[in-house]
Symmetry: C2
Subunit: 327 residues, 2 copies
């Protein structure tokens, strides 16, 4: 178990998930540490299965190097439980890079998937949207983006109930020929992709508020955008505070508005969704934020459950086999 | 003259600029239309020079195609005035693509500049910062980013008074080896670039709030980020409004907070800066927002004046010749 508040947040989140009918749940980590935390929280023995993992991957370690050297890292042990059908899904708040590498290495890719991708759902101004890939890949080829479009469509449809999500390709203009080589070629491929509702290029200003629900981009752009949105939120709040300084009535307004700021933080907070799946691997692998609290962990476990129950992986395989391109 | 409110906003902005000592100013456009507007505003003949341009480039036209076909487009006529030393700078609220293409075609590049770039200044939480390239290029090579770093540094130093700006390369992690091929190679080049204060990779979450003042990225990423910041601001405001709905006290807070929202809009609004220079061309070319009002036009003209007065182009040439790489 990794994460800033491990193992407390993880264990408390797992307890809440279990109470709401999600389980059984296996805790993977240092047995001593886990048992100690269970005892401290007066959780009866036998509530969870515990599987020992001697090592951990630090947040600043090189994921591929760490996985080679640490066969008994908790992320590796947990992923092998899924591979060996001893668990149906994996949730981690640890190093994203290590989880992506471990999932691809131990679970392998679904048939027809060239590159797994992280799908991050967000509450846009017109309803739920998804950004894919949010950073599983540092670099992509045009055909990878076709897989992202299909996987993002199925995720939004079956988990968020958006029946016919509009797929947009993130670019610097709305014209098909404008953009870098990657998106211009991906646009051509997406126009011929069956089973998706492709609406063309979408500019940055349309990401949260625009004409597409599934926002397709390479993992570099997606990761920069996702992390920039944190920066942008903090930036707005910073300048609102500056605008209040030395003005008592405006400051009073800010105090009265607190519930609205809380509302914003709640919708913007990734913990309200709990986690982002790495789509395209054989198994369910949910990436939770390193700063997850117990509620976020519970929501991530619930997300894992839904992906399994809705058979999203089977749907991805079936849809990608519609294409002639398949492996 | 292009832009959503042309030629009214342009002429009113030019009048205000003239009053504050910036000028003389040449208006380039359809003579009839310009004269009519001057008359309507009771501006005496002779206040401005007027140069006739028979055509315009529409916002949705392909810039390169339009420039080939329309030799007498106002943007082409205005750029040639700068080339022929009849004007020292060019300001436009029209098509950005056409202005970039026309500036590169008619003015040419400064010695040592591989690729001109758009430098967008923004008020970060730690002071002024600049994002470069914000979209002059759809695709870049690593060496282009070295020029962006140098030009961004000089712009921030001489126009915004940031003495030794920290240069960060936008990427998906802080490690030098993490990222796509473009940034990993650019990182290597930037480490050996004299005259800049390179601090390494910067993640998306550090764009507005982080450890760098000059944010270097390729034009695709920069344009997506810049436009996304508009989307993100609207998104924050949307969810704050949602959080107020049906709660009278919170709504009252929102009303009292109006001055703070106005403050935010003012700092976030590109018109407070007026325009973004296309750096790296022989001459001064300021890109103003299509939706510029008179104040934005005035500020853009003031920005043009300062770039000329501070001899930013000469400084760029001198600094790029420090490098062995020069053309």
């Amino acid at each position: 178990m990794g994460g800033d508040d491990a193992p407390g947040a993880q264990i408390e989140g797992a307890r809440r998930a279990l109470r709401s009918g999600i389980g059984p749940i296996i805790l993977v980590g240092q047995t001593d540490e886990v048992s100690g935390e269970l005892e401290r929280r007066r959780i009866p023995p036998g509530t969870f299965d515990i599987v020992h993992a001697a090592e951990t991957v630090a947040m600043d370690e090189s994921p591929t190097y760490a996985l080679k050297r640490k066969r008994e890292a908790s992320i590796a042990v947990a992923t092998r439980l899924v591979r060996d059908a001893k668990a149906c899904a994996l949730v981690s708040c640890g190093s994203t890079g290590a989880q992506v590498a471990s999932s691809i290495l131990h679970l392998g890719r679904l048939p027809g998937v060239e590159r797994p991708a992280i799908a991050v759902a967000f509450p846009g101004t017109q309803g739920w949207g998804v950004l894919i890939d949010a950073g599983a890949n540092a670099q992509n080829r045009p055909s990878h983006l076709v897989g992202f479009a299909v996987m993002g469509t199925l995720y939004l449809r079956h988990i968020f109930g958006v029946e016919n999500p509009r797929v947009g390709l993130v670019s610097i203009g709305e014209e098909a020929a404008k953009g870098n080589e990657l998106v211009v070629e991906a646009h051509r491929l997406l126009e011929g992709t069956p089973g998706i509702n492709f609406v063309g290029m979408v500019e940055g200003r349309g990401v949260y508020t625009g004409g597409a629900d599934v926002l397709v981009c390479d993992g570099f752009v997606g990761n920069v955008l996702l992390k920039f949105s944190e920066s942008a939120s903090r930036w707005v709040v910073h300048h609102l505070r500056e605008g209040m300084r030395g003005r008592p009535l405006v400051t009073l307004g800010g105090l009265l508005m607190k519930p609205a700021f809380r509302h914003f933080r709640r919708v913007a907070d990734p913990s309200s969704i709990g986690g982002a799946p790495l789509l395209g691997v054989k198994g369910t692998s949910i990436i939770a934020h390193g700063s997850s609290d117990a509620e976020a962990v519970m929501n991530a476990l619930a997300m894992a459950r839904r992906l399994v129950d809705e058979k999203v992986n089977e749907k991805i395989t079936a849809n990608l086999q519609l294409e002639t391109r398949g492996e």
